[in-house]
């Protein structure tokens, strides 16, 4: 079993969980086993997957972004207002946001600040800006984003095509490119990377800016699906994205992340919500059952990571 490397073991649990959940959904509601059905099931997975990748990039350099939900909400508000009425101004604002993320990476590194705290503060900043921009729900999605998100490619629904593209792009960026190795190295052992002659400052700024970029895409795609925005539209994304990374086999420290796993984790979380509504669980217990699914998947992971340890040695 030489092809079964530790890295692949890491992916096995998320993949198995997703498959089991998908089979359960098909069994409960056979009509979902179609183009339209799959599209509906995974529609909202695209923005969540993008936010999960963004969170993963921050966790890769040993940070944690507690402002992900408010930031994606803010981006959604910008997309539904400025990007639709004055595309140039909107684009400038969004580029500015990515620059701010890069600057956060720099400040966190230079002042030796805990990322959790800085992003905690930023969550108030983004939340405030979003409320200022859209005090009441409204705005409209730009035509072209709407077109991209609702387009119907042959055979496979857009949501799945997009998820595969996101996973492949992030995998190449983080796992295959040489700069990705440096980035993961910063999470693993910062001093080693520095001694090897790489700029930790630049690596951190890049990781944060890339996270900002993916989070911007998340907000834009969300508006493409919902057609309008409000200041609280994506608040759940902070916790969802963290859970997605962990479900996908990532870890909080040490630069051990898996982009493909993260996307699968996001898909699993999206599917769990549909699964519960098909089970006709009382609305009172919907949230609780989501917690239970999270626990079950992580228990499964415990069983399999014990084997991973055996494979690795």
């Amino acid at each position: 079993m030489t092809w079964l490397t530790a890295e692949r073991w890491r992916l096995l649990v998320p993949a198995v969980s997703l498959t089991v959940l998908l089979i359960a959904v098909f069994w409960l509601q056979p009509r979902t086993m179609s183009y339209t059905g799959l599209n509906l099931l995974f529609n909202l997975a695209v923005p969540i997957a993008l936010a999960t990748i963004a969170q993963m990039l921050i966790m890769m350099v040993n940070g944690l972004d507690l402002s992900m939900g408010t930031f994606v909400s803010f981006v959604a508000c910008v997309t539904a207002t400025f990007l639709q009425t004055d595309p140039l101004v909107g684009a400038l604002i969004l580029f500015g946001c990515i620059a701010i993320y890069g600057a956060l990476g720099v400040v966190i590194y230079l002042r030796n600040l805990p990322a959790i705290v800085v992003t905690l503060g930023m969550s108030f900043v983004w939340g405030g800006l979003a409320v200022l921009l859209l005090p009441t729900p409204g705005g409209a999605a730009p035509e072209w984003i709407r077109w991209v998100m609702t387009s119907k490619p042959p055979f496979v629904p857009m949501a799945i095509v997009a998820s595969v593209i996101i996973a492949a792009a992030a995998h190449w960026l983080v796992m295959r490119s040489s700069f990705g190795v440096v980035l993961r190295g910063v999470g693993g052992n910062e001093r080693t990377v520095e001694r090897a002659g790489w700029s930790v400052l630049r690596a951190r700024a890049t990781a944060y800016a890339m996270a900002g970029f993916f989070a911007v895409l998340s907000g834009m795609s969300l508006v493409g699906l919902t057609t309008s925005a409000d200041a609280n539209i994506a608040l759940r994304y902070t916790l969802l994205s963290i859970a997605g990374v962990i479900l996908g086999g990532g870890e909080f420290v040490g630069g051990r992340v898996s982009p493909i796993g993260a996307v699968i984790g996001a898909l699993t979380l999206t599917l769990a919500a549909s699964f519960l509504s098909f089970l006709r669980i009382s609305p009172d217990w919907q949230i609780g059952a989501q917690g239970a699914i999270l626990i079950i998947v992580l228990a499964l992971r415990l069983v399999l990571t014990r084997r991973e340890a055996r494979v690795a040695h």
Binding site: N112, V117, L120, M122, G127, L132, A243, I246, F252, A292
Partner: protein
Amino acid sequence: MAAIKAMLAKPWIWSFVAAAGVWMVTILFTAGASTLGLTQAALTFAAFSIIVGLGQMFVITLGPGNVDLSIPSTMTLAGTVALKLMDTNNGLIAVGILVTLAVGVTVGIGNYTLIKLLRIPPIIATLSSSFIIQSTAIWYNRGIRIKPPRVLAEFTTASTLGIPNVAWLALAISIVAWVLLERGIYGRWVSAIGQNMRAARLAGVPVDGVRVATYVLCAVLAALAGFLLSCFSGGAALNMGAEYLLTSIAVVVIGGTAVAGGFANVPGIWGASLFLFLVVSMLNTYGASAGVRLFLTGVIIIAVIIAASRRLGEGSSTS
């Protein structure tokens, strides 16, 4: 001079300086008219953040990854269950308090069971359990808002010697927490685990016992805060704990406790809690809208953290 220097070296001093600054600015704006009211309101609302913040402080001190995200849902569950059982009856107050403590103990043990048995990172374990706790509260509550017993409602809203009763309670709990942390073996153990869990284990610290006690302590304090808050505000609401998710973490960190664990700080929680409330009321006094208020709160939090931080390579890293 040396005394001033020693004071400035204390990690908690900045939160008090910031709180005092904001207090002065607000008082100046209203020309002193609101001095008493503002101080009382600040002490009242800070008291709730202080109680949950103390629990979160012990958890965060256990080391990287240790954060309790189930505080809001525990607050909600304790408030709903206790108020429903007491059913506005003054004679059942003891039952209500016992149930509150029981909710806290159960949640704390449940959280640590997940962390230990499934080896889930605490942040994810408490996140998952918070969903289940929240659902239990929704199921138990059924959308009914029950008033607190009259005695409790009066106690939580009244003052003794000019200081709100809830602030006295928070002070008592803080003193106990300070003694536990600075004078007791428990505090040494928590800090030791946060600094290096392996070394602590090898040195004979009962790591699991201390960790489970810490998660129980945090949940019990959250339950107590939820109980007091629902009595204070005339009934439990399902979303009443929501704002304490970020607040509980923010007061710990602004108060000078190390986010990486190993170094806790009780006085700082007071400074930070007063500071956070005063910032919001200052912005209210200036007539800022909700958006501006949130935005400036964030900017001020970040500014305080940067001001209190050290440059890279300067001294030992305590942040």
